[in-house]
Symmetry: D2
Subunit: 346 residues, 4 copies
């Protein structure tokens, strides 16, 4: 595995959701990738462009039910299903030849007890979970290249982890008292019919939700703990803001020692020197800079008066926070250049 | 002073800005208040409803220049000018009989050196500053009732201070490490022609600004220091979000001792039992609940895992964060019921 | 009927929807109105402010089911239910003493065959329909004052009819070829869980819908026909635009004779001289001028080059297009001043 | 001219505006195009990505003043300046070898008297005007291929003309009484500091502007007149709606003869069979389907009751309405496939 292939056969399960459709959109631009199946039970029989009219003329495929789909001959299967539904598909594929990229939350936590407490149901895909590599390329590039199964990170964890990792890896900040304030656009909640996601309820509104209880908390803490070599507990407050795409993450943590702004800036640049999608900024990053791109922009700012490091980061939740990162992982898994098909606006 | 008057004569200087026009809007609903002068140099000669067409039929007055305006016979003058411009007007009025409510930042900091460092110019209104009472009714109600001059709090400080005060006053939290993450709608920046405030730049965008350098930091720290009895340094990160009205404030601070959710909730309710515009919520507050109202909604949440108190609050930046609070102060100064003309949606 | 009452007992059926809740909001400001019952089957048992958190502190009432509600002793019952549901409630009340204001579409068309073709189901409330007066105060003020049942106009018809009536009544325009292009905010679709009304689908989007097939077409044509004394067929294209509140209507019709801009302007002013909520503008009206108000703003513009009259109008669909107009009708029915409790921003 | 070149040297004058920057963004994706100069007087010396942070990492160029720029060796110069400024640049280039694509309004009207009345100043570029071909590829493909100068169409005209042309060319509709109701996002007004374009004024607002007096009227009428073979006068009402990108155009015109929905649909499909960016829809088109694409989507609908043809169309004003169409024209001028670099989302 990991050798460059000439041509890839890809299937997408959950192609009618925002993340799944974004995978389709990204892959449809690739002459070196064939889309062999687009699966979506609720919309089976409809052409995908009935749901996403921008695709008319570029994606002509029709959605099929899972039973009707032949996933067997795909080289890679993207699973973009709600947590709890994706793992069954992953487990059913584990005996076959296809490599798997799961965009849901089912394969991100190795501790199935923690999974049950976080997601509210039992884990039923031990085989897929055993094979799964957490797919944050900037942290696990090597392992992803040879992985059979990749657990694509959550959108909030991507924005928070990439901001925190260099500081933690350098031992610059305390592992206690990390406070994460994230603000997400609405597409992060998926394509679904809910009163609280209707325009009239979201527009000219802003609110926190799942305060201290979001299912992404254990995911963030697991990765931070792995990097820090010790258990880490964070405070995570997600907010819903009136925009369609984008996550802005603002993090406070305590510095272990006085450090200058230049030094921190240099540390981040060094750490991400080989990461094609990380841009270390010298001022506050903006959501519009990353919308419809696979970039992660970060600005680390030292607060000398309080001895804190403030980290500001932005991503597009559907691209770097989901579909774009999934394709980035696919590139690594199959020997393509990491940023192939993902440069600039996508 | 402080006795109930039957009828009030009020003037507004800076009536063409968002805050000034909102003062006019609020006072125009009051049969017991006469608007004697609406001053706005840049738009002098225009009827106010040419700028705010909702006012057609309810406010027919024409804007005048400062030189043309007769402010001498007003009982109260609202000053809603950019910081640096308001203090000269205040100082010129201090020899007269009118009481003054300044919505700008010029009279909020008693330390003129701190003022200069924060606002970038010298303070030139010593007389007005000497008389000025910081107009946060929930903290300084008594002093406001008899004040000659009221310095109306800034929008961000209102949202942050009202959230923090009960915890600080009860000695529940450390004064170090207070991290304030605020998200503001665009009207807080005032009515002005700036590329970065244009719809095309703000919509589908979100960014922090003036990171660790906002002029509201010393205002917040001054009041917190007064309450805590010790110098307080906070980390304050303001964000610009795509909504017109509203500020959401999310604060992390460290608990001094373990405390239960119920106890904190009760503490906040007790502390604000007599505050007509504070609503202590049992879940995350929403901007839409306070838009076009003078309410401050707050939800204090204990994070037992990290030993932190998380405070979530919302206000309408133009009402409780500016014009509504100014009228609330006027009510106190002239003996009206505190919530007179300010109940419900305004 | 029509005599001024001192105190009114009012009930609202369908209080959990946007229009119904807006009726409650408006009536809660009235010391002369008691809310005796708030009915909402789907949310029965919940306090109304659980759905509309701005109401906390001003409306404390709990929603009840229709069976539990005692509507018998109300002076007036507002029905704000989806079309098809409201008429059964109206019919059940017709034997009692309460007067009825129906905000739905069930009692607006006298022709039950036309109703069936427009709404897709049979009409089952002959008694209520017989008593019903079409509640456009600017056209039917006299009849409304003494009506037992008022059919409150639809939001689109309000914006279109008030714009067209003076020109039609004056015989200024042809009754053929009237083209109506309306753009509505999302709250007009009601409070409901639909993918196509979710923020992510509406934001940065704009589309026409129900092209030439909207159920408001026969309502518009019926009233125009009544005024013109001849059958009128219009082309009506509604558009969904990304705003919460507001309808902008742009109408083209053919002038019967050359006419000057001044003459048309004067005609409109004369026609609406006694209408407290109509503002005839001399330039394009704006949605923000009428948001949260009961105003209807209109700008009639003569296109001399093409011999057309262009009519531009705006309303708040939830106020003048629904709840505000309903309260305006209530005022007329019970002898209050027409604009009582409805002046300025509400 | 018209032969395929291997490699193109392109310059952009006015690269700091929304349209100019979009040209840069589109060309930066092309390995076969070199950007030789990015000119912007107001921002000279700044890197373009200081204004458009999404470009960091893909466009590293710095803006230069016009005097400093060497446009002489470019194969093609894109001019994206406000009307009145662009023609001087075009005229100065006409003696050189570069071919010119002007995105402004200066070279679209052959009648300089009409130009003066529409734009308020004299025309001063007779040489460029003489060479200019109106760059609507779906109408003038042949002429564009060999043109020295292309006048790229305005955004509103693109949306209106492409909708009307098939019906007019087929003689299906009257040339009198064409009523055009357009709704545009804010980016169409360009990147500039204006109070009326600020977020707080545009959000939750909607208004018509330049009613019957927009400078695009003569452009539309000129092209329609050319196609119809007779003078055409239209009524054109542009509206500003709260979205960043996109124009929706709704047109009413009178049918000359009864025609069925199927026949019209077939006519449009036939007419645009070879147009790679036109999609004839069978239902109302949506702005989101064309945002960030070069597509023009149209839905022609017959209103049998009124004998009218209703045309609904959408474009992205910055792509098909400006930069995308300009690159489409460049493709034709230099022998590239018409849709080269413009497929799907761009």
């Amino acid at each position: 595995m990991g050798n460059r292939v000439e041509h890839l056969r890809a299937a997408v399960v959950g192609a009618s959701g925002y993340s799944g459709a974004e995978v389709v959109r990204l892959l449809s631009r690739r002459p070196d990738v064939d889309l062999t199946a687009l699966v979506a039970h609720s919309a089976a029989g409809q052409p995908l462009d009935a749901l996403y009219p921008d695709l008319t003329g570029t994606v002509g495929a029709t959605l099929t039910g899972l039973e009707q789909a032949d996933l067997g001959d795909a080289d890679v299967v993207f699973i973009a299903l709600p947590s709890g539904e994706g793992m069954a598909v992953a487990e059913s594929l584990i005996a076959g030849r296809a490599r798997i990229i799961d965009l849901g939350g089912d394969l991100r936590l190795k501790d199935t007890g923690l999974y049950r407490r976080s997601y509210g149901h039992e884990h039923v895909a031990p085989g897929a979970l055993r094979e799964a590599v957490y797919g944050l390329p900037e942290l696990h590039r090597e392992a992803i290249c040879t992985a059979r199964v990749v657990a694509n990170p959550g959108c909030y964890p991507t924005g928070a982890l990439l901001a925190l990792l260099p500081a933690l890896q350098a031992g610059l900040v305390e592992t206690e008292g990390i406070s994460i304030c994230s603000m997400s656009g609405v597409s992060g909640a998926g394509r679904s019919a809910k009163v609280e996601m209707s325009f009239a309820e979201v527009n000219e509104n802003l609110r926190a939700y799942k305060v201290l209880a979001h299912q992404h908390v254990p995911e963030i803490e697991s990765v931070l703990g792995e990097v820090a070599g010790t258990a880490v507990a964070v405070s995570f407050i997600p907010h819903l803001v009136p925009l369609t795409r984008g996550i802005h993450t603002t993090i406070h943590c305590r510095l272990r020692r006085p450090v200058g702004q230049e030094e921190v800036q240099a540390l981040y640049r060094d750490q991400y020197a080989s990461a094609p999608f990380v841009r270390v900024r010298t001022g506050p990053p903006e959501v519009r800079a990353v919308a419809h791109t696979n970039y992660f922009d970060v600005f680390p700012a030292v607060n000398e008066r309080t001895g804190q490091l403030v980290l500001l980061s932005v991503i597009d939740n559907l691209v770097k926070g989901a579909a774009g990162q999934a394709v980035q992982n696919m590139n690594l898994m199959f020997g393509f250049p990491e940023d192939h098909g993902l440069r600039g606006r996508v």
